[in-house]
Each structure stands twice: as structure tokens, then as C-alpha cells.
Amino acid sequence: MFRKISNIIVKQLLTFSGAITGIAILFISIFLFKEGLGLFKSPAIEEGYALFVNSKNIVDNLTAKEIKEVFDSEITNWHELGGEDIEIRIFRIDEIFQHYSDEELGEDYQFLPEKLAEVIREDESIVAFVPVEFAPAQHVGVKELMVDNITFSDYFAGKEWLPTATPAPLFGTLPMFLGTLLVSLVAILFALPLGLGVAIYLSELAQERIRKFLKPIIELLAGIPSVVYGFFGLVVLAPLVQKTFNLPVGETALTGSLILAIMALPTIISVAEDAMRNTPRAMREASLALGATHWQTIYKVVIPYAKSGISAAVVLGIGRAIGETMAVLMVTGNAALIPTSLFDPIRTIPATIAAELGEAPTGGAHYQALFLLGCVLFLITMVISITAEMISKKKNYKDM
């Protein structure tokens, strides 16, 4: 009787924990996408602010990129934006405090809109960046500049990532997307031959004693905190890469790939080795009995048999490399540039999230842009793990 009840309770508990996990995962993904997709509803200009010009100005709207270039003094004349031939004067809200005293602006700044309107009315060349609350919208002689919302292509095809630029932050993620893929793929190119070599050695050639000693050590490598790898990369690998290739900087995509390769090795080795050791004894002996040498047995029998396990090892290794944050944050230089060679500094998606989420104002455009990056990363790793699942399910005996 007691046993029956405890059985039922355990069963219920197991179902419950399964359900909780499922709900948690669902909740996290919904939260991630809800926050991230909110970005496309935000205007390209900083939340709560607007741009105003003199009403005689014939320019009506600007893109985010144009705004950034104006405020960086790269565009200095209105005729470059389709206006008249006068030099642009930039006005930020803080300047108003140099023109007027606190008393003139009122205790709760109730006279601020009026004074702003005065300043803008006087100067045809002005572009004023002010909070919406104090916007002098109703006053004569003042015109608000129209700014579009952030679009899909701004985000996914944009080449500039300046998330805290005022007044118009730029959220182009293409450099980070390409940087992440480059660094991970190159890392796998390094890690795969090496990892497979070690796996073959451990499962087929090494003596039992050596194997028992080496395997735990390799698995221990996976337990080293990634910050430690990162620090090693920054202090040892970066100067090494710089000297070897005679580069101006040591923090490059190559350095990142090397560190990631080292970090992916334990995963690749231990999964691939397990797969190879699972080759049935009967198969090996049959091969040897037919007169095949040890080496022929390895590459004609063991490797084809373990093919699905090896593929799974590769995919898991890629997953490890793509999601790695701390080590790449420290060694790749974090420059949001589209990489043209392995010796360029790059910036990856996880590093960007880690470095910036802490201080992005909750709910703002920057925050949403980082969440959307999280979504992108989530989709990439999901595709990878589904692939891994499919590969490791498939048992292929045809080639043998």
C-alpha cells in the first residue's frame, strides 16, 4: 500500500518537474522574443527626445545615419541634406542653461519650451535635440523633424553599431553576426583535426593505463572557467599572434579562434572517443580476422561506425564556440567591423550582450536591440542542436 502511494507521488513529481522545465523554457523564449521584437516599434531617435528645426528650413525628415553624421560634424551643411546652403548649427538641451538662468526657466522648467522656441526661431541653421516633454511643438517658427522607426534592414544589414550615440543610436548587427560565424568556424577548423586525432589515439592506440590518466585530464579542461581562458589568451596568445604574424594588434579573430578551439577540444575529444569505443568488439575482430591491419580497421571500420557520434561532437563543439562569451570578449578586440581577414579584430554577439546589457536602460531601444541579438543567438544554437540531434539519431551502416 505504502509502496503504491510513494510510486504515484514519485510519478507525479517527475511529471511536474518536466512540466516546470518545459514552461520555464517556453517562458524564457517568449520573453526573449517579446523584448527583442519591440525594437522595431521604437523610433530611430533616442526615446523621449525629438529634433526641431526652424520652420523656414525646407528639410523635413532625416534617417538615423544622417542624424549621426550631422551630430558627428561629418555633414556640416544643410544643402548636403537637400536644404539650403547654410552651415548646420547643433544645439543640445544643456546649452540652454548657459543662455538662461534657472529662475528664467521656472522652478519646474515650465518656461523651458518657450525659451527653446525663442532660440530655434532666431536661427535658421539650427537643429535642436530636446526632450519631448519640453518640446516647443506648439510655438510658431518651429518645426519637428520626422524620423522613421528602426527597420528590419537597419538592424540586420546595418554596418555600424553605435548603441549609445546621441541623438540617433545605430544598431547595425551585420559585423557581429559575421564576426561570430567567422571566429567559430575557424575555431572548429583548428579543433576538429586535433580533437579527432586525440580521440583516435585515446580509443584505439593508447594503453589502458595512459587512457585512464589522460581522459579525466582532458575532461578537466572543460571545467576551467572561461575567464581564465580569456586571460590566458590576452596575456599569452595575443602577443604571440602579434609577433608571429608581425601585426599591429594581437587581439584578432585568429586569437579568438585559437582560444575557442582549445575550449571546444574537450567536448569534441570526449564525445568522439565515446562514439569510437562503442564500436562492437565483433566488428573489430571480424575486420582483423579478414586480414586487415590495425590502421585499416580504424579507418575502414571504427570511424565509419562512429560517424554519427563524431558529427555530433563537431556540432556540439561549434555550439560551444558560438555561445562562448567571456574568453572572446577579452581576446578579440571587440571592434564592430565586418571582418576582411583573420587578422582583423572582431566583435561577437555574446560578447556584445555581456559587455553592454548591464548599463542599457531597461526597456529602451538599446536594451531591446541586445535582446534581439539574444534571439539571433538562440536561433543559431537551436539550428545547431537540432542538426546535432538529427545526426546522432541517424545510424548509418551503408558505408561499411
Binding site: 519646474d108 553599431w161 595575443a238 594588434v249 587581439e251 571592434a335 567591423l337 548591464g358 548599463e359
Partner: protein, 271 residues
Amino acid sequence: MKKLVVLSLGVVFAMSQSNAQKIKGSETVLPITQKAAELYIKSNPKSNVSVTGGGSGVGIAALIGGSTDIAQASRKMKFDERQKIQQSGNTVKEVIIAYDALAVIINPGNKVTNLTREQVEGIFTGKIKNWKEVGGEDMKVVPYSRETSSGTYEFFKESVLKNKNPMSGIMSMPANGAIIQSVKQTKGAIAYVGLAYVNKDVKAVHISYDKGKTFVEPSVKNAINKTYPIVRPLYFYYLKRHEAKVKAFVDYILSPAGQQIVGDVGYVTVK
């Protein structure tokens, strides 16, 4: 068991009765407040001060949200942050507790010693790409910046770059230590850090804000006599209605003993 609960409740109650105060914010100000809090607690055993970092923006957000008593900041409170506090019916008090000079640093192997503000701006906005354009060897300039969330980044952008954005694709490092490490091992590097972080692994450049007439070495002495131009105040922000609670600690930092700490950790004293 019951006794334990009552006891621990009592302890919690007693602790909330004493003047516990929380300070949060800038990593730059952290060394000062940490040291000051330590010594302050030693001389006032009843008091309780807890100090955490997180960055200027985080500290001010916590002050607005009410989860900290004092926000420490390495930049001035922004207009909209001040606005948020006023909307909640509070007024904020600002106290300058120290000054920090920002040094532009290069690799010790680099022969350049002087740079004007315009040249530094050119380098960080990507217009100057080779050291020979500013009187150095024929070598690529490698500028390092801080992450965009850092107060040091904000101040550098405002003071030296005159609010322009650094070139897109500039290398950005997560911490002052990493910046020093990179500049030490990269020959063409240039970066900026607080004066307190400058050590013998890097070389601080003399800066001119008057288009090359006078170049001033970044040092505590030159920051105090106001000849060095890139100096920023470090702030404490607190709500006026909490003034009674935080006053003792703020006064301690401004006292000669507190300012002694400021000097010891490498910053510039207020007086």
C-alpha cells in the same frame, strides 16, 4: 528553532535601526568609497555602510528606483535622470567628493610625447591613421576605447571628442586593466584611463587644449593647479529627504581624513 528565528528577527530589526546606508555606482569612485567605508565603520562601529559597483548609470538608476541611498558617479547626472527624480516628487543633492584626471596613454616604445586635443580627436574618430601624421614613426595607430556603458567613455567622448562618436569599429575593452595590458603589448596603441591606473607599463602623453601652445603632463599636481585640462569631478548623489541619514558619511569623505584617502588611491582632492 523558534528562539533562533526570534533572535535573527531581532538582529535584522536592530540592523535596520542603526544607520545602515547603501552606496552604489561608478567603478571609478569605488576605490575611494570602499576604503572610506572601511575606515568609517572602524571609527563608528555602530554604523553600517555597504558599497557596490556596477557603473555610474546603474547607481543613478538605483537611486531613482530607491534601492540605494547614495549613487556614486563619474559623470554628471543627465538631464532626463534628474527629470525622473523630480517627477517622483524628490529633489536630488549633488556633492563633488574628488576629481579624477583622465590620461591618454601609449606604448612606452612610442616616441611621441605631445598631442593636441584635435590630434587625439582625429585619432579616435579615425581621421589620423598613422603615427607619422602626429610626429611619430611610420606605424599604424591602434586606438582602444572603453565599452560604451562606461562613465569614463562618456566623459572622454564629451571632453576630448567634443561629443563626436569614436569611429565605428574601434576596439573596446571591458575594463581598465585590460586596456593597460593591451597598450603594454601593442606598439601602436593609444587609449585613455583614469590617472590612478597609469603605471610604468604605459606612457602618459602630454596634452594641449590650446592648439599646441602648451603641453601639460597628466599628474595629480597639474590637476590640482588646473593646468591639466582633462579633469572630471566625481560625484555623490542622494535624495534631499535622506540627507539626515547619509550626512555623516558624506561629511566624513569631505573631511581631511576622507580627502587623505582620496589622495592615497590616486585621485585629486576637492580642497
